[in-house]
Structures are given as structure tokens and as C-alpha cells.
């Protein structure tokens, strides 16, 4: 039976939804599933992981771990994996997790498969599912040795609370000399008006077809009505219409919400790679030849300035009824 460790990233007093999704998936795979939480407030959030399938959660709290920097976390994870003999370590994609996973791979000489969207048991091991080359190919990938490391694309799994409980164990922290040469100088929280696109079940995204930046209000209104987050294409982010944090696509974020509504987005390949694993895709575009229609579940050819406000009203009145 595999011995799985899930890196549980937290921010403030919350475990991240992506990490809990990976934990839920790990619990379904069977075997012993443990989690590890590192940083300020780790102990306080650790037992929450029990509800998502962890039977044991390690918590490392130390002033030197307060800043969200990767290298001290690598020291904590490397020691934990060696001491407890974990053969599989799973991560949900984030700026921090990618750095931790990459460095841990070097430290433990452990194979890392990244950008996975699924994992299945295969005998004593696992097979990962990895979209490649702009998601035109889905590769079955595996590991030739242990420990195995895997980094999952945002939104790959739902976080399912099953209601268990976890034993929480504290960890001694020993840091390498080079792990303390980086410091956080300052941190600005981005003003967020709604859920982040990584965490959202619904994303309404706008592209150049909106015509001008003020028209993003249409997208925001629909997102609010659907209880979702706002996404944007690279073109409009580059044009300064919307912040980079909302950018979906090759140089932005890859997302896979339950519903993705593309408003005025032509659907070039660079955008497609970031959203085509969404469960349901609905697109609105006035150009009947827009590539987005080829991978939409429902495509509406028409004027978004007419359709979107009407749709927002319809959704609101349906929810109100």
C-alpha cells in the first residue's frame, strides 16, 4: 500500500481548496494518507484536513517558516519524507508549491511529474494523466523509483468533506544554511472583489470582444449572479483592462471550473490551454468562425452586449424565485 503525503498549503487560517482537492483524491486512492501543513498558524488549521481524508497531519510551526518561501519548506518535507518513509508526495499547483516540489525533487532525487490532471492506481504504483503540447495530447506518465512526486493542475479535483478526523503531530524544524538567505520584505494583498479563479466553481471570462475596459462590468455582473469569479484573456490583461491575477491561459493560470463562460473570447490556442479542461464551456461571440466554438459545449453566435445583460437578469430572477 502506498504511503502518501499531501502538501497542504494554507493562507491565513484556511487550508487551500486546491490542496484539499488533492487530499480528497489521495484518500480515494486508498492507503495511508497524511498531510503536512507548514508555517504560521499550521497547528490551528491542521485538524481541518481530517475532514478531507487525512488520518494524520504533521504541523510545522516556527518563526523561520512564517514567510511563504519554498526553501525552508523543502527542509521540513525532506526530513519528514525520510523519517516517515513516505513513497508518494502530492502537491496542488501554486507559485509556492511548484518551487517546493522542484527543489524536493533535487534533494531526494525523486521523480516529479507536473501539470497532472488525474492520477490512478497501477499495481503498487500510480499512473498520472498529463496534458501536453497545448493539451493536444494526454500522456500517461509514471515514476521509475520512489519517492514519487506529483504536482496537479489547479482545479483538478473537488475537495470532498467526508467528516473524518485527523491526529495532529508537531514537527521539529531544522533548516539548511542556504534556506535562511531569503527573506520576505513586504507583502501586498490584492484587493479581491470575489473568489480567485483557482478556487472558483464558475468562471466568467472576458476577451477583446468586449470592446472597451468598462464593458468588463457586464462580465462582473454575470459572474456575481452565477456566484463565480472573473477571468480575462492575455490580450485584455496586456491592454491593461484587467489585472494579471485573472489571466487564464498559457502565461496565466490553468483552470478547470465546473462552468466556464467565455464572453467575447475568440479562443486562440494560448487561451484554450488554460481552460479547456473546464467541465462545461459556454461561449458567446459574434464571429461564427471563432475557434472557441470548436470546444464549447454551447456556443451562442451573437452580440454579447445584448445577450450578457439579459442572461444576468435571467440568472438573477431564477435564483430569486
Amino acid at each position: 500500500m502506498a504511503k502518501i503525503l499531501v502538501f497542504l498549503e494554507h493562507h491565513g487560517n484556511e487550508l487551500q481548496k486546491g490542496a484539499l482537492g488533492v487530499l480528497s483524491k489521495a484518500a480515494q486512492l486508498g492507503g495511508d494518507v497524511a498531510g503536512v501543513v507548514v508555517g504560521e498558524g499550521a497547528r490551528a488549521v491542521a485538524d481541518e484536513a481530517g475532514k478531507f481524508g487525512a488520518s494524520l497531519v504533521f504541523a510545522a510551526e516556527d518563526p523561520r517558516l512564517a514567510a511563504p518561501l519554498p526553501q525552508p519548506r523543502v527542509d521540513v518535507l525532506a526530513k519528514l519524507v525520510r523519517d516517515e518513509g513516505f513513497d508518494t508526495v502530492l502537491f496542488a499547483q501554486s507559485v509556492l508549491a511548484a518551487d517546493v516540489a522542484g527543489a524536493l525533487s533535487a534533494r531526494l532525487e525523486a521523480g516529479l511529474n507536473w501539470d497532472l490532471v488525474d492520477i490512478v492506481a497501477d499495481g503498487d504504483g500510480f499512473i498520472g494523466k498529463r496534458p501536453a503540447l497545448a493539451d493536444s495530447v494526454f500522456a500517461d506518465v509514471a515514476w521509475t523509483s520512489t519517492p514519487r512526486l506529483a504536482l496537479f493542475r489547479s482545479g483538478s479535483f473537488d475537495a470532498n468533506a467526508t467528516g473524518g478526523s485527523a491526529e495532529v503531530r508537531g514537527l521539529e524544524v531544522e533548516l539548511e544554511d542556504f534556506s535562511t538567505l531569503t527573506e520576505l520584505v513586504s507583502q501586498e494583498e490584492e484587493e479581491s472583489t470575489g473568489p480567485s479563479i483557482e478556487d472558483a466553481d464558475v468562471i466568467v471570462a472576458g476577451g477583446r470582444g468586449l470592446g472597451d475596459p468598462e464593458k468588463f462590468a457586464l462580465v462582473e455582473d454575470l459572474a456575481r449572479a452565477l456566484g463565480g469569479a472573473v477571468g480575462a484573456t492575455r490580450a485584455v490583461v496586456d491592454a491593461g483592462w484587467y489585472p494579471y491575477a485573472s489571466q487564464v491561459g498559457q502565461t496565466g493560470k490553468s483552470v478547470s471550473p465546473k462552468l466556464y463562460v467565455a464572453v467575447g473570447i475568440s479562443g486562440a490556442i494560448q487561451h484554450k490551454v488554460g481552460m479547456q479542461s473546464s467541465n462545461v464551456i459556454v461561449s458567446i461571440n459574434k464571429d461564427p468562425n471563432a475557434p472557441i466554438f470548436e470546444y464549447s459545449d454551447l456556443g451562442v453566435v451573437g452580440d454579447l452586449h445584448e445577450i450578457v445583460p439579459k442572461l444576468t437578469e435571467l440568472v438573477r430572477s431564477r435564483k430569486g424565485s
Binding site: 523543502v74 534556506s179 494583498e189 453566435v301 452580440d303 445577450i307
Partner: protein
């Protein structure tokens, strides 16, 4: 200040990237070009060198012999010399092997600053710098969209899921820059002409103390899962209604 820039020569996006069905690796038989993401790292290195007025920018890469053609673009932009780790014994290296080989090449250079681009353009990897920094035992900053070097340290500002972090690392350090950091310059004709004469060194696996370590493997290549039927409607005034009904049918509202 000596700056090393790690770059990757990737198959040209325009001529098509494909996987070799036999090896299940990325086919590298066609022309290779400097990864766009890495040209931002080259640009940032050149700017830092220009700002201090002295120093050296060394391009470091691993790949087939012809990858040197792609590195020459970085030389044409203004980098001083190129080092390519190229050895049949290293073909098929994954993250573990590549990080070791690059760290071996970088170990010979002892640069004050090692720069990377934000991701590989072909394999979508975005963690090599962290593995290399681990081997070099140096501090690291990733996804930096602004960079300053002063008083023996490098400071980077980057965007995360939660906002903006400003991080300072003591030199020598390893930094990956995002493609928002600058607009890479185009090589001048003079730069292109001069590039051929700049030092270009090829290192073997033995030189960098590496051998192909593959800790991961590709078992099979499959077509992407098919999406269900795609429905298309023309808006005749009922487009919004059609969407609402569709969402209701899918239990999304």
C-alpha cells in the same frame, strides 16, 4: 557582476511541436529556437550588466548539438559567451537529471546571479530553477516581475495567488523571471554578425558530472478526451434564454 542565464532551445512553435511516438519524447529533429520565456531572462541579464557598466553574461543550456544555433540568438542580443551541455548520454534526462547537469555546468561558472525564464515553452515545466538552486545550495526567488540588485543581494517582486510579494535573497542567488518583467530587445545586424565569433563551448556529461537519470517515464500518448456534443445557436433574441436553459439542464444554476 557575473550573470549566468539558463535557457532552453525549443522546437519552433510555428513549425509545430510534436511528440516522437517511438521515444514518447518531444521531437527535436527540426529547427530549434531560443524559448521566448528565456529571452526575458537574457534581456534582464543584459540590462543588469548595462546598469553596472561591467560584468559578464554567460548563456548556459543543455540540449542537442544544434541547440547552439538557438543560443547564438542570445549572443546576438548581447550575451558574452555560451556554454552548451550536449551529450547523447544525457538525452532523455528528466527534471532530476537536467537539474544535476545544469548545476554541474553552473558550478564551473560561479556566477553571482543565475537567471531562468518563467517556464519551459515546450514542456510547460516551471520548477527547474528550484531544483538547480537546491544543488547549488543557493537562495532562490521565482516568477519575479521586477528585479533589483544592490548591496550584495537581489530583490524581486512577484505576483502570487494572494497578491504581491517582495523577496530579497543574498547573492549568489538563483532567480526565475516572469515574462512581464521586460520586452526583450531584437538582435541588431551587428549583434547577429558578431555572435558567431563569440566564445561557444560544448561540455560533455563527464564535464558536468551528470548522466541521464530518468526517475519519471511516459507510458503512453493518448488523444485528449473528447468533449461531448457541441451545440451552436444563433442569437435571434433568445440567446440568453438558450444559455439559461442549458445551464439549468446541466444543473449549473
Amino acid at each position: 557582476m557575473k550573470i549566468a542565464v539558463c535557457v532552453k532551445a525549443v522546437p519552433d512553435a510555428a513549425t509545430g511541436r510534436r511528440l516522437d511516438p517511438a521515444t514518447k519524447r518531444l521531437a527535436r529533429s527540426g529547427d530549434l529556437t531560443l524559448s521566448d520565456f528565456d529571452s526575458h531572462a537574457v534581456e534582464e541579464a543584459l540590462k543588469l550588466k548595462e546598469a553596472t557598466g561591467d560584468g559578464e553574461v554567460v548563456i548556459v543550456s543543455m540540449g542537442p548539438e544544434k541547440a547552439m544555433d538557438a543560443l547564438r540568438k542570445a549572443l546576438a542580443m548581447g550575451a558574452d559567451r555560451a556554454v552548451l551541455v550536449s551529450d547523447e548520454a544525457l538525452a532523455g534526462s528528466d527534471l532530476v537529471g537536467t537539474a544535476k547537469a545544469l548545476a554541474g555546468a553552473l558550478g564551473r561558472e560561479e556566477a553571482d546571479l543565475v537567471l531562468f525564464g518563467q517556464q519551459s515553452a515546450d514542456g510547460d515545466g516551471a520548477c527547474l530553477w528550484a531544483a538547480v538552486a537546491e544543488h547549488l545550495r543557493r537562495p532562490t526567488i521565482s516568477q519575479a516581475a521586477e528585479l533589483t540588485v544592490e548591496d550584495g543581494s537581489v530583490t524581486g517582486k512577484r505576483q502570487t495567488e494572494f497578491g504581491y510579494d517582495t523577496i530579497r535573497a543574498r547573492l549568489p542567488a538563483v532567480v526565475a523571471v516572469s515574462d512581464a518583467i521586460n520586452e526583450p530587445r531584437y538582435p541588431s545586424l551587428k549583434g547577429i554578425m558578431g555572435a558567431k565569433r563569440k566564445p561557444q563551448e560544448t561540455l560533455s556529461a563527464a564535464d558536468v558530472g551528470g548522466a541521464a537519470d530518468a526517475t519519471t517515464t511516459v507510458l503512453a500518448l493518448n488523444p485528449p478526451p473528447a468533449r461531448g456534443d457541441s451545440r451552436r445557436v444563433e442569437d435571434d433574441g433568445n440567446g440568453a434564454q438558450a444559455i439559461l436553459e442549458f445551464l439549468a439542464e446541466k444543473r449549473l444554476v
